[in-house]
Symmetry: C2
């Protein structure tokens, strides 16, 4: 799937709310309300709406998700759909859903531990995106440096993930407060 990551005027079908000064946030909000978002966004929002659990699987690029996935967040989670004026964090519009960030890294676990903690980089994605939309967050699933470990170790990683998926529904979400990330 070659998802478009760039947030542009093309995300709005038809007339703009204010064609004098283009404001992406305002325009997608207005377009959402009148059913005027582009087809790819409507399709993705339908998937989110139907899901009880959102699993984001990706290779960590620069302490973050790759641009194509960041673009999914930028374009799909529009105001009116995922949050609203006074509906954010615990009151976010996607309440009742769970999320899980599952990713592979280039570096080893030790490399991330040298300078700070891997949890530091989870703040913008887990708290700034999912928590903001009212989605609860399960413990992240991190596979460190699969490209540099043995075939046996890679198989263990897959087995561990398979095992976790079996009991995922019984897990308690994390306490998404600054303490979890930084203390």
């Amino acid at each position: 799937m070659q998802f478009e990551p760039r947030a542009t005027r093309n995300d709005i079908v038809g007339r703009l709310h204010n064609s004098e000064a283009f404001n992406y946030g305002v325009e997608t909000w207005e377009a959402y309300k009148r059913g005027g978002l582009s087809k790819d966004l409507v399709e993705e929002q339908k998937k989110v709406q139907e899901a009880d659990l959102l699993i984001f699987q990706f290779p960590l690029f620069w302490f973050n998700m790759p641009a194509i996935l960041k673009g999914w967040m930028d374009r799909v989670l529009v105001q009116g759909f995922a949050y609203d004026l006074s509906k954010a964090y615990d009151g976010g519009l996607l309440q009742g859903k769970l999320s899980l960030f599952s990713f592979t890294t280039g570096g080893t676990k030790e490399k991330y531990a040298i300078r700070g903690d891997i949890r530091y980089l989870l703040w913008p994605m887990q708290h700034g995106i999912m928590h903001f939309c009212g989605v609860k967050v399960l413990e992240p699933h991190i596979c460190y440096a699969p490209a540099f470990v043995s075939e046996e170790k890679r198989k263990e990683m897959l087995t561990a993930w398979t095992q976790r998926l079996k009991t995922l529904w019984k897990e308690e979400p994390i306490d998404c407060s600054p303490d979890w990330y930084f203390k």
Copy 2:
């Protein structure tokens, strides 16, 4: 400029190093060494090479840069050019350069202060990208909620930025340690 944010096989011109199992990091590293990166990447790397100071100006999207800019980081800062096996952080290959993240937010300063500190979200971009490449980081420049303040306040923001630019070269880079971000 409609920069392509997606990291794909198209970033490598000609034959792949390993066509059996595509690894984006390895392939762009090898392509860089043999001068086989796509034209748009070569052009951007040239700009970085010639710059003493990199200013990233953007609207904050989801506690982070928009996907189009994240894609610039993902695709331009390849191994061999920006960092190398044992050349990262203070030893990164872009040593001697300065950077500055300048951005506008949707929410007010108070909104960001309710849950944690705005500095928390600077860690992946400032530390995880720039510091990793050996680039020193100046204090971020943040304009809070320009869409919701008076015309007068907006003009003040522009004046403050103009003023800061005049003496930017005299500024000391921040101490890019976990303490700066989380204490």
